[in-house]
Symmetry: C2
Subunit: 234 residues, 2 copies
């Protein structure tokens, strides 16, 4: 097979920024790195890309190895390529961000990897440029959530409106008026009211809702405009 001559070849990796939501705050799934350099330090979940594997496939492989989950929301974030980002050898990293229902994960935990959830506001130092990746992923998540009903990916199948509001408030680091929030959410027609209530979080109990998946798929690109103050969003 002919080859391009005289060009340098580089290592290429995929790293995943995995977000979860426990009902109260946004969390990040991290692992203790298993190889040198920086062995034992906290890191995003990643892997070198294999010969016959594209990025999506690589990201899904990593995600599946780590959490056992399939069909997770996954989106390419950015390619990071500073020559010295890995001190051992130049490595290109294509970063993906993933949104998962933390409860599903907990059931399928794979403990071989020493993975752990950290609240996004008190995550440990990360290796290489991983903190920069997380920063960018947070911005992207906010940006996207302002227009698309993406945050449902972080919630369990059944959830309440107050939980959803909590999530939005966490992401945008603000508070919404609950009457206006509820009206806006209902106007999307994405929610299907259930008969039962969540009694864990209040005496009165809050009705559960499910996502209308048909509408969700059809309207994903419709705009919600859930921005508290546009100036705060990247």
């Amino acid at each position: 097979m002919p080859k391009y001559q005289k060009q340098t070849r580089f290592l290429v990796a995929v790293d995943c920024i995995i977000f979860g939501f426990d009902g109260t705050e946004l969390k990040l799934l991290l692992v203790q790195r298993g190889l040198e350099p920086e062995k034992g330090k906290w890191s995003l979940i990643g892997s070198f890309i294999r010969e016959e594997e594209d990025f999506e496939k690589g990201a899904n492989r990593i995600l599946n190895d780590m959490t056992g989950l399939e069909g997770v929301y996954l989106e390419q974030l950015h390619a990071f390529g500073k020559p010295d980002r890995d001190p051992i050898e130049r490595t290109i990293s294509v970063a993906y961000f993933a949104l998962i229902d933390i409860h599903q994960y907990e059931r399928q935990l794979n403990d071989d990897f020493h993975a752990e959830w950290f609240p996004i506001k008190s995550a440990p130092r990360l290796i290489f440029d991983h903190e920069q990746m997380v920063e960018m992923a947070k911005k992207r998540l906010r940006y996207k959530a302002a227009f698309h009903p993406i945050l449902f990916e972080l919630l369990p199948e059944k959830f309440t409106v107050p939980q959803l509001q909590n999530l939005y408030e966490g992401i945008f680091d603000t508070v919404f008026d609950k009457r206006n929030f509820s009206r806006k959410i209902q106007s999307t027609k994405l929610l299907i009211k259930q008969k039962d209530k969540d009694k864990e979080n209040s005496k009165k109990g809050a009705y559960y809702y499910k996502l209308d998946k048909r509408r969700y798929a059809a309207n994903f690109h419709a705009f919600l405009n859930f921005i508290p103050n546009p100036d705060n969003i990247k």
Copy 2:
């Protein structure tokens, strides 16, 4: 220097989707490829990444070689990594999209590269996955233009409101009411009215405007919501 063992290394390239606007329609800058395979066919402008160069730098180098321009609007689009996207040897491509003022370019044309502007609607077939890249770049441009005043990057320093409207109409492939369009544009306070008029395109002449660069820099992330019909966007 220690190295990661047993990992395959890959070629990494940067490709640029370069948009220009000639006052009437959106155009794409393409080159005739100078090396095998597919030599002589039309292609995006690209290059393998060099050892000590990051992606931004590579993209700027390419852009500068080709157009002589510096300080061009440049944004990472996506990393493309299908194993067989280049039939000779697996090559990762990090694609950037650039917005340039076509008039500035024409002055600095570098003819060594056989570059040519094509109307986006009648561009030739492109090599590899470059058409897919262009598609994605068009979507991204629309998406971004719906919220950010990004299209000014395509215009010369002095431009008229009808020209600007033309550009928006081209990008979104629709028509706007000119009273409403003008009001919306003026409401951004990004335009500074000039004393002189453009007499080329009408008998009456249309006032020139300049971009208020301070405000532009400060308000870039504010939202314009220039969407004709949200459903049509990505």
